[in-house]
Symmetry: C2
Subunit: 85 residues, 2 copies
């Protein structure tokens, strides 16, 4: 992996890993009122597009981070449905 790819890899890692404390916080507080449902669905859909982009162009880090993001956004949507108002 050359250094430019490392920039993209780190960028993807930071955004995806950042979703973990966010999802965790919603389940801990048992509250998701402030979360926009539009945000969660657009993010889910966006990650699905990026995942297909990664699959088509065989980009491992794009596949990895967007696959993980997809799972985390499913957990966030579930929290929103369960705890949001």
């Amino acid at each position: 992996m050359d250094w430019q790819e490392i920039l993209g890899f780190i960028g993807g890692a930071l955004i995806t890993l950042g979703l973990i404390p966010q999802v965790w916080r919603l389940y801990k507080l048992k509250s998701a009122r402030e979360i926009s449902l539009t945000f969660t669905w657009l993010f889910l859909l966006g990650a699905a597009f990026w995942l297909s982009y990664g699959v088509v162009l065989s980009l491992p880090s794009v596949i990895l981070w967007n696959g993980v993001s997809l799972c985390l956004m499913c957990a966030m949507i579930y929290a929103k449905i369960k705890y949001g108002s």
Copy 2:
């Protein structure tokens, strides 16, 4: 732009535009308790890495969406500082 690039372009657009209703919601509710500060900073940092990746490789859609994301995350961090607990 070939069709693979369109996938990435749409993915970036969806995620970035999804941040708008999320930021809007925080300012409307005047509350950001549920937002994880770790999430906002990691997302900001991740978008900065993607932006530099886009600049280095001259990828217009990566530059565009991550530039916009950076601004939106600054607005989210400001909301968190102002309204979060």
